[in-house]
Amino acid sequence: MKMVIYGAIIVGIVPVQSVLLPHLTLWGVKPDLGVVAVCLIGLISGELDGLLVGVAVGWALSLFSAQDVIIGAMLKGSLGFVAGLAGRQMVYLSPLVLVSGLLVVSCLVGLVTPVVLRLNPQQDLWWAIWNVALPQACLDAVIGGAIYWLMWSQFNIEQLMSESRM
């Protein structure tokens, strides 16, 4: 069942991100569902799942972008791995904590990405913070929080977290 869900996320994230999300933008910036999905999977299912799904999601998204494939896969894979490690330290994860965490993590990813991608000098760090990283982090946090709140109200997340790691 878990494999089916992961497969659906990997295959379905590209159409959603490239066709539907351009209609949901904040100052021309759309949320990165990849960051949200990988963080949630890492937190709930652990670092191995986070790493593997992160690599696959980053790879799939990079295939349909001008972004370097390896960098995309490595960034999302590392994010999933770190989320898995962070999830291990938590016994209880409230939506508020998750929203704040996603805001910080998405901001950090937004700061690292332009440096790693070696973009044009016009797209310097200051431009990246104000024009991409911050709006994207806000959207990621809101969407991540909403998804987690939905899951939280429907399932017992703590039980899911411990079960999925067995």
Binding site: G46, A60, F64, S65, A66, V69, I70, V91, R165, M166
Partner: protein, 290 residues
């Protein structure tokens, strides 16, 4: 819970750690090889993903079509679309005529006429936008199996859209002319001064490295110079809106308003073969026997 988790998942943790280390080492030590592996295996993955992508894009286009055609003033929408099409065609014709006139003048004086080979064009539809926020790209519904390759130029009847940067079997990614990471060789149509057209972060374009003595002025049209692979000479890129001349600078630059609005483009043409031979082709070309 902490103790239980540690004991039960120690194996998974070890696997995750080993995988992470292998990936990081591969990234640091063998980036080229890792890149080719990811690209090679990415073919089937891209092919699988292209199916839901087409379905979602199709549904999206239908909904957008219904909304645009029936809900939002059907008659006006159609008339506007027709007028835009006509305007694009006329602009293209005008650009071509200007270019032809200039070329005829030059060629007549040189007494050497070389017929330009017409490029082969592949029509493609836009099915999506970039999956991230760092690049300005569009996704096309044609890919490597249709003969599309990286570095091929992409145009509409109105002018240049961008350049192919990535392909899967059935899709391709176009880096738009308005992206700061794109560079196309350009030429001011009136003064014949050459430069490099680069995108800006404001979604416009800029012609760089214009000679200081150039008489370029706002309103001048910039076209492709045909000096690089992908684009033949004379395709409209944009119109100069402002000239920037800094003191003690070696060159001047100009701000351009792109001829094509990339956010509204729906159908494009990919230039499959360029009349300009590459360096390799030129070197391997058989010499005529005397």
């Amino acid at each position: 819970m902490w103790m239980v988790n540690l004991r039960v998942t120690s194996n998974a943790r070890r696997v995750a750690l080993v995988l992470a280390v292998v990936l990081i080492l591969g990234f640091l030590l063998l980036p080229g090889q890792l890149q080719s592996v990811f690209h090679g295996v990415g073919g089937p993955l891209g092919w699988i993903i292209s199916w839901p992508l087409r379905v979602v894009a199709g549904v999206h286009d239908r909904i957008a079509g219904v909304w645009g055609g029936y809900v939002a003033l059907q008659g006006m929408e159609e008339e506007n679309r027709q007028l835009k099409r006509e305007l694009e065609l006329l602009k293209e014709q005008n650009g071509q005529l200007r270019e032809s006139a200039a070329a005829t003048e030059r060629l007549a004086t040189l007494l050497e006429f070389k017929k330009q080979a017409l490029p082969t064009l592949i029509a493609a539809q836009v099915i999506g936008r970039d999956t991230g926020n760092w690049y300005k790209t569009i996704i096309l519904d044609k890919g490597a199996s249709d003969g599309i390759q990286a570095d091929q130029g992409v145009i509409t009847p109105a002018g240049v859209v961008g350049r192919i940067v990535k392909t899967t079997a059935s899709t391709s990614v176009v880096l738009l002319v308005t992206d700061p990471n794109n560079a196309i060789a350009g030429l001011i149509q009136r003064t014949r001064d050459e430069g490099i057209v680069e995108g800006t972060t404001q979604g416009q374009a800029r012609l760089k490295y214009i000679p200081l003595l150039s008489g370029a002025r706002p309103g001048d049209r910039v076209v492709t110079s045909g000096l690089v692979e992908g684009f033949p000479r004379g395709l409209a890129i944009g119109t100069i809106t402002r000239i920037d001349k800094e003191e003690e600078a070696l060159f001047q630059s100009a701000e351009l308003s792109p001829e094509v609005d990339p956010s509204r483009v729906e159908e494009v043409l990919v230039i499959q073969s360029s009349p300009v031979p590459t360096e390799k082709e030129r070197l391997s070309m058989p010499r005529p026997k005397l």
